[in-house]
């Protein structure tokens, strides 16, 4: 996978963390204003909020690196295997002939970093959509072309 994906995930993580902590701060302020807690109560709550935000931000920064280390794919003539997961690991193999169609998607941030997502659609239910995130855009396109060409046609 492309290392730039770590940066992408970190940025996203940062945004999410920012949103959550901001939301919590606002909620806390409302609670303070409404109920008028004693001084030490406010101090305690604020301290808790700071600690929580700190932990959350730190976590959201190191997670992408961890995730990156455990995510990989392998292309073979008959199928594509995708390995992912840090705690709950899984290797998903999709036989070539089962891929119905594919998508290469980019959000504004990923476009800026030259990354893309490759989505493989199968007829399955759990794995109706198999996703490969954090690929370099050209790699994603290459894989897609490789998968779509070659391989027997299905009677659909």
């Amino acid at each position: 996978m492309d290392p730039r994906s770590i940066i992408l995930d970190r940025i996203v993580g940062g945004i999410v963390a920012g949103a959550i902590t901001l939301g919590q701060l606002i909620a806390l302020l409302i609670v303070f204003a409404a109920t008028g807690m004693p001084g030490w109560g406010i101090g305690l709550a604020l301290a808790g909020w700071v600690v929580f935000s700190g932990v959350l931000t730190w976590f959201l920064q190191i997670w992408p690196a961890l995730h990156y280390r455990h995510q990989a794919y392998r292309l073979s003539p008959e199928r594509i295997e995708i390995r992912s997961g840090v705690w709950w690991r899984s290797v998903t193999s999709v036989p070539r002939s089962r891929i119905q169609h594919t998508d290469v998607a980019q959000g504004p941030l990923s476009r800026h970093l030259g990354l893309a997502r490759l989505l493989l659609y199968t007829a399955g239910t759990d794995n109706a959509q198999v996703e490969l995130r954090g690929l370099a855009h050209e790699t994603a396109l290459r894989i897609r072309d490789h998968l779509v060409a070659g391989g027997p046609d299905d009677a659909v």
Binding site: E78, R79, G85, W87, W88, R89, S90, V91, T92, S93, V94, P95, R96, S97, R98, Q100, T122, A123, G124, T125, D126, N127, A128, V130, P152, D154, A155, V156
Partner: protein
């Protein structure tokens, strides 16, 4: 077949859409008209029926469908045009739902289901029965009569008479569904029309009054007896409703095979037909509840491509045999999944360490749950723990023995469960993806699980997921399944 020209909806469609509209608007409208409080905004509600009626008429006039070379084309709408193309090859089921009105008028509500859809691709309300036949003929390129009566060349595989159904009702407890639905309906209607405010009548008051009055009068022993009696009575009532449900919903259940097409018919008031082309069966699921075992029967359902979670229970997951004597299972499976021989499946067990893991898991849960509720339960929590631990022990002892998988060249099967048994069989050709998964607990023991994904597995369906396999074995299994799946061609 030669393409056809445009067809239109049956004229009675108007009637049906008006009836559905009326049900939704006229009833509340009437209530409002007769209520004490006039001039409220609810009155405006009644005027909504006019544009609704106009819309139905418009829809009837503009709805057209025709049979092209290899797809069904449906056009509708006047302002917002919509043209839908459904390739014949994609259509796996043309189902009909007919309630009493439909049957009286000789029409049907047609649902066209394709693969990969959450709901029917197209719902045509209503078509005459000859039009339905034509549709079935053209789409499936087979001459078929409606499944009501056996057609020549068709063999009935299973027919359930009312006694069978009553038995099914007793075994398969659906009473809860009926009661739940009834209560829900009453509650909703009452709140919607402020029944309680208007008539100064409230269920909570009623219940409270009843209990306080009776509680004061009864001696304590009688109260315990009354509670037990009430619980028993409730269970009996549930079973009663369940039998009723089975009798009505599955009345005259008939499973038939014509060529390579299965068809089922069921229902007393509302007749539902489904056609299941054999090659569109993805997974066959056989269930055996404790009561089933007592009677020596099983329940068989199939998952067909295209069924997703829907309001109805059986959408995409069709009954093949709601209640079947166990001896007939092998022969039914041989017919429904040609090439499958149930007896000759070589069952492989899961890893022997599975028992230890299950025991650990159950004990932890047994400890945590009472702990969580310790505040409410106090000393009863210990009893709860004991009970749960005992159950966990039993599970750990008996479950691993019952778990097993079998993978041949053409099929993969998975059976599980000790009290509630389940057997799933899927054709390798229908496998969409294979996942090898390992949780942190798995990794500690060097085990893994293999999951097989197929089309149309319902939300509540217990998938083919084989846990507690030795990591090496799991890897090998996943690889061989994936290879075999790639080698076989997937045909919808």
């Amino acid at each position: 077949m030669t393409p056809s020209d445009d067809r239109r909806l049956h004229p009675f469609s108007l009637l049906f859409s008006l009836v559905t509209g009326a049900w939704r608007y006229v009833l509340p409208a009437l209530f409002v008209l007769f209520a004490a409080r006039r001039g409220a905004w609810e009155l405006w509600f009644t005027f909504l029926i006019i544009p609704y009626a106009a819309a139905s008429i418009l829809r009837y006039l503009t709805y057209r469908y025709r049979f092209a070379e290899d797809e069904l084309v449906i056009r509708s709408g006047m302002i917002f045009h919509n043209e839908r193309h459904i390739p014949y090859a994609r259509i796996h089921n043309i189902g009909t739902v007919r309630n009493i009105l439909h049957r009286m008028l000789g029409v049907a509500d047609v649902r066209i289901e394709t693969a990969g859809g959450q709901e029917p691709e197209a719902r045509i309300q209503v078509l005459g029965m000859e039009a339905v036949d034509e549709m079935r003929r053209r789409v499936f390129e087979r001459k078929r009569e409606t499944a009501e009566a056996p057609a020549p060349g068709e063999t009935t595989l299973l027919h359930m008479n009312p006694w069978d159904l009553a038995l099914l009702g007793l075994v398969d407890n659906r009473g809860g569904v009926v009661i739940g639905a009834a209560i829900g309906l009453v509650w909703e209607m009452s709140w919607q029309f402020g029944l309680f405010e208007r008539t100064g009548f409230s269920p909570s008051d009623l219940i409270r009054a009843f209990f306080s009055r009776s509680l004061d009068r009864l001696p304590p022993g009688a109260l315990a007896l009354a509670t037990v009696g009430a619980v028993l009575g409730f269970i009996v009532l549930l079973r009663f409703f369940s039998v009723g449900w089975a009798l009505i919903n599955l009345h005259g259940f008939r499973l038939a095979l014509a060529g390579s097409d299965l068809s089922t018919v069921r229902g007393l008031f509302t007749r539902v037909t489904a056609s299941i082309p054999l090659h569109r069966i993805q997974v066959v699921v056989v269930r055996e509840k404790p009561l089933h075992r007592y009677l020596g029967c099983v329940e068989v359902k199939v998952e067909t491509a295209g069924g997703g979670p829907e309001q109805e229970k059986q959408a995409g997951k069709e009954w093949l045999a709601p209640l079947l004597p166990k001896e007939r299972l092998a022969s039914l499976l041989a017919i429904v999944q040609p090439g499958l021989s149930l007896e000759s499946l070589a069952w492989e067990p899961v890893d022997p360490r599975a028992g230890r893991r299950i025991l650990k898991r159950e004990l932890i849960v047994a400890a945590l749950v009472p702990l969580a509720f310790a505040y409410f339960l106090r000393w009863w929590a210990i009893l709860l723990f004991a009970v749960m631990a005992l159950l966990g022990l039993l599970q750990a002892r008996y479950q691993p023995g019952r778990m097993g998988y079998a993978a041949t060249d053409a099929f993969v099967a998975w059976r599980s469960g000790w009290l509630w048994r389940k057997l799933s069989i899927a054709r390798v050709a229908k496998i969409q993806a294979v996942t090898l998964a390992a949780s942190p607990f798995d990794r500690r023991y060097e085990m893994a699980s293999v999951r097989v994904d197929t089309a149309g597995a319902g939300a509540s369906a217990h998938r083919i997921r084989i846990p507690f396999l030795d990591a090496q074995v799991a890897r090998g299994l996943a690889a061989s399944l994936a290879t075999r799946a790639q080698a076989s061609e997937f045909r919808w």
